[in-house]
Structure formats: structure tokens, C-alpha cells
């Protein structure tokens, strides 16, 4: 029996707050236990960046070239494809301080804080991310958690659609048993 087809898994809207309030009333549980030791650490990106620290590895000897062009020799894999306003590297990279990113107002930030960079334009997503409604947090739901910053998932240079290779489908055609 192919269960997926025999059961009507129709999607229904819950509404929002009203519906869940109602459900909470019927649960009859005690008052919420407060989350005491809630703390969130943002997972550093710099250990994952092969070119970091950029100054020491290269740019102290070879200053970045601010001219907009197609890169063929170095960083040749980078093709900016993000937003029309983002024309060149110096929009996000502090070109005179290659170990840092740069905010629109000129402030320098660490490569570990890309959420501050992205949040300048993607305010709503960054807000959701801050409240763990977008992005990934692991660890404890009631205590210390680790959160990934935007560039753990998104390519800052050409964000586009995230695609992945699916793991193999389940072996059994039918369910019930497994």
C-alpha cells in the first residue's frame, strides 16, 4: 500500500496567535520554566577562510587593486553577482585594511561579523537571524548555543539560490515498515 497517496495530508492555515493561545489554554501545564543560562556564541568564520589573514598572507606585499575589472589571475573564481549597488570589492572589504570588512559608514568589522555587513541591507532577515528564526543555532535550547553567521550558508559575492545534493531516497517504496 502506498500510504503517501492514501492519506490526505492537506495543509491548513492555523491563523496565528489566536490559535496557539487557544491550544496553550488546553494544555494545562505549569507556568514556563525560565531559560536561565541562555547564551549565544557566533561561530567564527576566520578559521575557515584559507586566505585569512589577508594582509599577512599577501596584501601587505601586494596592495589590492581598486580598479573594477574581470579577475583572471588572482581571486579568479570570484564573480560579483549580488546587487547593482554593490559594484566592487571595496563596498564590503576595507581595501586599506585587508584583514577587515567595511560597513557603509566606514567602520571596520571582523570577518567573523558578516551579519553586521549583511544586516545593513537585509534588515528583516538579520532581525530574524538575531531571534533565531532564520539561520542555524545548535547546542542547547535552554542554555549555551552556537549560531552560524550569514556567510556560513550564503556566498557574499554571488548569493543566489542555495543548492545541495540530496542524500539517497529511502530504500523501501512503501512506508509503514520503515
Amino acid at each position: 500500500m502506498h500510504r503517501t497517496h492514501s492519506i490526505a495530508l492537506a495543509l491548513c492555515i492555523v491563523g496565528s496567535l489566536a490559535a496557539c493561545r487557544h491550544e496553550h489554554d488546553t494544555s494545562g501545564s505549569d507556568a514556563a520554566a525560565p531559560r536561565v543560562n541562555r547564551s549565544v556564541e557566533i561561530v567564527a568564520r576566520t578559521p575557515h577562510l584559507p586566505n585569512y589573514p589577508c594582509a599577512e598572507q599577501c596584501h601587505s606585499k601586494r596592495p589590492p587593486n581598486p580598479r573594477q575589472r574581470v579577475l583572471t589571475e588572482l581571486h579568479a573564481r570570484i564573480r560579483l553577482d549580488h546587487a547593482p549597488v554593490i559594484r566592487w570589492c571595496d563596498f564590503c572589504h576595507a581595501i586599506d585594511d585587508p584583514n577587515h570588512l567595511r560597513l557603509i559608514d566606514g567602520r571596520r568589522i571582523s570577518f567573523d561579523e558578516s551579519h553586521r555587513l549583511c544586516g545593513q541591507c537585509h534588515g528583516e532577515k538579520a532581525g530574524d537571524w538575531r531571534r533565531n528564526m532564520h539561520g542555524l543555532e545548535t547546542g542547547r535550547w535552554d542554555g549555551a548555543a552556537l549560531r552560524r553567521t550569514c556567510t556560513a550558508c550564503h556566498d557574499p559575492h554571488a548569493p543566489g539560490q542555495i543548492t545541495l545534493e540530496a542524500l539517497p531516497p529511502p530504500r523501501a517504496r512503501t512506508h509503514g515498515g520503515g
Binding site: C12, A33, D128, N132, W141, D155, H175
Partner: protein
């Protein structure tokens, strides 16, 4: 450019040896001698269970035990009391017995605990259908965490692929392959919804499955008689039955186990997702959540207004599956 997404909690990869079968003759337990007569309700449950088993013609329990390779340990599980009637000492003995049994069968040192529901906590799950790519990392992380049978293969989570235009779950496909997400498709992982009004629980003739104070619907695998009524009652097709002797390589066994959750099940019983009870009652996130490379899964305490699940319920477009079934799930889907 392909991104290297964070993947946490993937299964371990120690060298393996041949997979022995798990489970044993106690898969069809019979509730013979129960001396303690304290809680009337459980007496009734046990009486019902006895009658029910008799109606199925399950009488030759002794023979089944005798044919088992580990008769001494299995015998006790045959005559075990209902979970809710066990006192501290009896429960401790049972947990140690299961550990020894696992050690004897697999040569693996495991710890079987029984974490209880936390006061003031009701668990809820919210899954973001906008970000889910359908990669199935959750499905396999669940199997690794929960010691589900690899052969025959059993997965608690099933990821449905469907047309974004119609969003018709009935015409969904869960055997898609290759790169995901495919253009024009949505992906919806389905697992136990831990319903507030669980039809599976009412369907069980012997009270082998029930709802805990934190909302998790559990199964006592030692009490389950394998009638599969619960499975037929579930509108989400979330329950699985061990038709055959389940198998799992010793090297792949997760040694951190719970009596009502991921301890290795015998043949002939029903099992399902339990929100990783042994993890979440000790403050951690479920394994499927941690394995999701795109962060589509959110989990927390529904009673805590500051929790992310509550914020999602209050600010996002939230859906439940099959609302007309009246199950009131604690598993929600949302869109960004």
C-alpha cells in the same frame, strides 16, 4: 558557487563489524504475573492487554522465550510491569538489564537512561518551508541518533517533494534524487507531530503509548504488542513497524540511549519520532535540527514567550498539516 554549509551531528564512522540482529523473542510479551495491585487504571490496562493478547492467540510466550539466545535476560522483560507502575528500583534494574543485553548482543557499552519531563516545559517544533531544500540530512541524522534499523531500513522522517504551484501533499513524491531544491518544488519533511489530541494513543488497546506532560508521545517498546492500530490511526503516517529483525552495525550504535526513546528496539513493535526525548529533556536540540544545513528547523518551549518557536507562531505565516483531523499538532510549518 557551492557553499560549504555547516553540518553538525553526522553519524560516527568507526570501523564496522558484521551486523547481528537486534531484538528477540520478547517482541510479543505476555503480561502474566503482576502482583502489585495499586493503581486501578493500570490493572485495567493490564487486564485489557491480557484479553487482547489472548484474542490474538498469543499464548506460547514461554516457548518463545526458551527459543531465544538470551533467555535469562529476555524472560524478565516478558513479565515486566507497565512503565508507569515501576518503582525507582525496578526501573533501575530494567535499565541495567537493557544495557547488559545490548552489551551481550553487540559488544557495545551503552548507557540507558530515563530522563523525565521538565516542569514548565511543553515542546514545540517549527519547520521553515521557505528555506528547506529537501536534502534529507535530517532524515539520516535521525536514523543515526535513534538507532533505527539500517536493514530493513527505517526512517522516522520522510521528506515530501511537491509542486510549489499546487502544494498538494497527496500528490507528493519522497523518492526524488540529485540536486535540490529543484525549480518550482517545495520540500516538506514529515515526522511525528506530537499531537495534543493523539489518535494513536486512543487507538492503543493496551496503553503502550501515551502522552507525557511535556507533550511528547512515547512508546513503551516492552509493552507494545505490535497490533499496529496506532499506525493505522495516525493521519501523518508517522509510525513505523519492525516487520523484520532490525539490524544495525555495532560501530553505528549511538550509546547514549533512553528507555522511552532511542534504545534498540526489538522486532514486532511500533516506533516513531519522539523529538529526541533523551536529548531535549537534557536541554539539547533534537538531532534533526542540528543536522539541517540550512537551519530550517526550530525547536523550543511553547510555554516560554521568549522562545523562538513562540516568536515564529506569533509572527510568521504558520500552517499545520491536516488541521481538519483535529489532532492539534505541536509540529508547525511556516513560511518566511
Amino acid at each position: 558557487m557551492a557553499r560549504h554549509l555547516p553540518v553538525v551531528g553526522s553519524g560516527n564512522s568507526r570501523a564496522d563489524s558484521s551486523p547481528p540482529p537486534i531484538g528477540g523473542a520478547h517482541s510479543q510479551p505476555t503480561p502474566a504475573i503482576v502482583a502489585d495491585v495499586e493503581v486501578e487504571a493500570f490493572e485495567r490496562a493490564q487486564a485489557t492487554r491480557r484479553e487482547f493478547l489472548q484474542s490474538l492467540g498469543v499464548a506460547a510466550a514461554g516457548a518463545a522465550v526458551a527459543s531465544s539466545g538470551c533467555a535469562d535476560v529476555t524472560w524478565e522483560s516478558f513479565f515486566q510491569k507497565h512503565y508507569k507502575k515501576l518503582d525507582v528500583r525496578e526501573k533501575r534494574d530494567i535499565l541495567r538489564r537493557i544495557e547488559q543485553e545490548t552489551k551481550a548482543r553487540y559488544g557495545v557499552e551503552v548507557g540507558v537512561g530515563d530522563p523525565r519531563a521538565l516542569p514548565g516545559v511543553e515542546f514545540g517544533y517549527a519547520l521553515n518551508l521557505t528555506t528547506c531544500t529537501g536534502c534529507r540530512q535530517c532524515e539520516y541524522a535521525c536514523a543515526a541518533e535513534n538507532n533505527t534499523s539500517r536493514d530493513p531500513e527505517m526512517h522516522y522522517i520522510r521528506v515530501l517533494e511537491m509542486e510549489a504551484s499546487s502544494f498538494d501533499v497527496e500528490r507528493s513524491e519522497h523518492h526524488y534524487e540529485g540536486e535540490v531544491p529543484q525549480p518550482g518544488k517545495f520540500y516538506m519533511p514529515v515526522q511525528c507531530h506530537q499531537c495534543r489530541n493523539p489518535p494513536c494513543v486512543s487507538a492503543c488497546p493496551v496503553e503502550a503509548t501515551w502522552q507525557e506532560p511535556d507533550g511528547i508521545v512515547v512508546v513503551d517498546y516492552n509493552w507494545c504488542i505490535g497490533c499496529r492500530y496506532c499506525q493505522a490511526a495516525c493521519p501523518y503516517d508517522a509510525r513505523r513497524f519492525n516487520f523484520a529483525e532490525p539490524s544495525i552495525r555495532p560501530s553505528e550504535i549511538n550509546p547514549e540511549q533512553g528507555y522511552l526513546s532511542n534504545r534498540i528496539r526489538p522486532v514486532g513493535v511500533v516506533e516513531k519520532c519522539h523529538f529526541c526525548l533523551h536529548r531535549v529533556r537534557t536541554g539539547r536540540y533534537p538531532a534533526c535540527l542540528e543536522a539541517c544545513p540550512v537551519g530550517a528547523r526550530k525547536f523550543g518551549n511553547l510555554l516560554d514567550p521568549e522562545s523562538e518557536v513562540r516568536r515564529i507562531l506569533e509572527t510568521k505565516r504558520v500552517y499545520v498539516l491536516k488541521e481538519e483531523a483535529g489532532t492539534h499538532p505541536r509540529f508547525y510549518y511556516y513560511f518566511d
